[in-house]
Symmetry: C2
Subunit: 457 residues, 2 copies
């Protein structure tokens, strides 16, 4: 509970304008894109690191749960304040502090939107590789909290690979800094890496130094259709196994293609059993050669139609189709469960067969969408949480999907994180001593347990 | 102290043959390539994870310090058992357990030598990018403990970027696993990243899953001489600032070139004020184009001579020269201090000027050797630790070098780690709350403080 006197302590830090506690205002901060909702008692909008520090001092002195929030696009429940308390929303700390392409970094506040970082870099011929599906809305702070991925992470790596340094505020209000502007830095523990993906359970990131890289000279985009989903998956495994590394290789099954086509009418082939969106980048000459090798592997795996985008507009259209998938699925039923299992890439064909079979066994529709080149699959099941019988089947299906992933040497999440969605599956991929070790670290850094409580640690 | 009864407990685990405690045997495990020596009370050679677990159970039950050791090539004192106790030497856990280039990983024991991993991968057309100067002798376990770098880490990243997963044994003997075979995995805290670079203070790594990448189609190697050291450094900063990313860009100053030439007689230009070894890789066509852009920047920065290796033998010879530098310097005086400051690459010219000036002010010789493309510099000062007056000047010079690096936005280590060498400099780049946070983590994971005690946490 936040008493009136505690409320006044918070208001003294951020003024009344940046402190919300009316029910109708709080509702907007009670959920993310997962299925669980929980109301905060208040939402606070800091503008500076020092304010964040003061907020946490007040919160810790009264044992109030603190959940950080960026844009709320998480799909695992990570920013849902399941034990209430306050939500610290970073939407007012959204500045790009420094762009330094000479030394290949940018310094940003956590509330800056990923796409805005890209826009700031483009005139310099640079980009920030992590490109989650939510690129146009999600914040860098949220991306760091979840260690976000995205299609081009196949070639370029995920968020953690781009965090050179950070400033964070601990539960007791202390301000810490890790890493530096230097691309190589082995000074002490890799705390920035530990905080990346920690889902707000260790501290609140208030500034980040991101590594950036030169834009490739050329980008080529292919849409490839197959008459067989197995062939589609085999082509992925074959391309990667041949030592080719495209920038992105996205798989969509028939259900997904049709859902997108129903909504967007882009002329996608409704009859294709599977389709691959392949992007390669580099010098024009390197792309030419790589494209030749890829086409050879595609033909060897019975590709029915290979179509190269002939303009930037066509490339953009293909990506718009791919990126619309989540929204399209979300409209098919009252609820959408978008999961995120990952398997070694040679196991992609088998994992897809198992996902399809599991859904069928439980009488459920499933769309398979995958960053297939790195084995990261998003089985999407539209369903109605209000229909208890159906929902029980959905839950059973996902239990089996995670068991299958673990069985194939895979893991629970490639980029969405654990949040509230997958705590129960942790023992599938970690022994109890490993889980306990995370808890010991959590307790050492946040002994009162006020930071995003009720989550995976 | 290890009593006879404790000794018998250890011997019961590993047999007498793998337990050393005679003084003349222990001497070999009392040092690394840094300047401090300390004798262990015993050295133990486990062959399995289970044995490591049992050893740690015995050690923790008697509060005996435990220091892990690979090949002892560390240059910061990390594996020196400064508080004695036992050294756990991993030389008998040196197996490559699985090579899987289809899924792009290898699984190894910690005692395997880095070069042996490369040899195992080469027939498949793959490699493991981190290539420390000690590549032919250092172990993967040691590379992980120190988060080792190397020349080609400019393009490919350091050890941490290639650790997909690991198995480790904690101080109390518990066996934990982090990460997986999957290139994308955000399941829980990034514990493998935390352990990487932790210098044996958190646990003993007993198995690692390493990411591997396809060998580039083509590699081109340039030796470039300059008449001015400033020009040499400016060329580096200019190339990187132009958005070009070579695989490696190594800088050597006149002192270094002459020291190598004295020893190896390779026909290096003794008159050059500075020299760059630049390597690029990729498709033949991409290399051609990149080479053109690099040569343009080199000429704009007054390169005096640009020479491309015309055969693999010539490439190998150039790298042999570069790799010999450490050994060559080590023969110039009774002691060699090889340091490891890193600055943002735009600051490389200024940092080199400061290093040269500081050494001159203190009447010391200095060789500047740098993985210059990522701002990682190794100032090498040959001196005699027995000469107290000279040694005081050496220490003063390094104090000033680290202050200069911090002043330029740099950091204490790019790849060597902190060990015993740089603990006192930590406050230059981290506030006390950040240092305390590392200590809290150490205490949470190793509450008795038996793992590599006396180091940076």
């Amino acid at each position: 509970m936040i008493t009136d006197s505690i409320k006044q302590e918070f208001i003294a830090i951020v003024t009344e304008k940046r402190y919300l506690d009316r029910q109708e205002e709080l509702t907007c901060y009670a959920y993310d894109a997962f299925l669980v909702e929980a109301m905060p008692h208040a939402v606070i909008f800091p503008e500076t690191t020092d304010e964040v520090s003061q907020i946490l001092k007040v919160a810790s002195s009264h044992n109030i749960p603190v959940t950080a929030r960026g844009a709320g696009t998480s799909v695992c429940g990570a920013p849902v304040p399941i034990l209430h308390g306050i939500v610290v929303c970073f939407s007012k700390m959204d500045k790009i502090i420094e762009v330094n392409t000479r030394d290949r970094y940018v310094i940003v506040q956590p509330g800056v939107i990923n796409a805005d970082v890209q826009k700031a870099l483009q005139p310099f011929g640079f980009f920030y590789p992590p490109d989650p599906g939510s690129i146009n809305t999600s914040t860098i702070g949220g991306n760091i909290a979840q260690n976000a991925g995205g299609p081009r992470c196949l070639k370029y790596g995920v968020t953690m690979d781009y965090i050179l340094g950070m400033e964070a505020v601990l539960a007791d209000g202390k301000i810490v800094q890790f890493g530096s502007r230097n691309v190589k830095d082995v000074t002490g523990y890799k705390m920035a890496a530990l905080f990346c993906g920690s889902e707000g359970t260790l501290g609140l990131v208030t500034q980040a130094i991101l590594k950036v890289v030169p834009l490739p000279e050329t980008t080529k985009t292919l849409m490839v259709n197959f008459n067989d989903l197995d062939d589609t998956a085999n082509a992925v495994s074959d391309i990667i196994g041949s030592g080719i590394l495209p920038a992105a290789m996205e798989l969509m099954d028939k259900f997904t293609l049709n859902a997108i086509e129903d909504s967007a009418g882009l002329g996608l082939d409704r009859e294709a059993a599977g389709s691959l969106l392949i992007e390669i980048d580099g010098t024009a000459e390197a792309c030419e050669k790589e494209m030749g090798r890829i086409v050879e592997r595609l033909k060897a795996n019975n590709a029915a139609r290979i179509q190269e985008a002939t303009s930037q507009a066509e490339q953009a259209q293909i990506w718009t189709a791919r990126r619309s998938a989540y929204g399209v699925f979300a409209r098919l039923a009252p609820n959408l469960i978008s999961e995120d299992v990952t398997v070694p890439v040679s196991q992609v064909p088998e994992m897809i067969r198992r996902i399809v079979k599991i859904a069928k066994n439980h009488g459920l529709k499933v769309g398979v969408l995958a960053h297939a080149g790195d084995g990261n699959m998003h089985p999407m099941i539209p369903a109605d949480k209000g229909n208890k019988e159906e929902w029980a089947r959905v839950e059973q299906a996902f239990d089996e999907i995670f068991e299958a992933a673990a069985d194939l040497g895979g893991t629970l999440s490639g980029e969405h994180g654990i949040g509230l969605a997958k705590v129960k599956y942790l023992p599938l991929v970690m022994n109890q001593d490993s889980i306990n070790l995370m808890t010991r670290i959590k307790q050492a850094i946040d002994p009162q347990g006020i930071l995003n409580p009720g989550k995976f640690v």
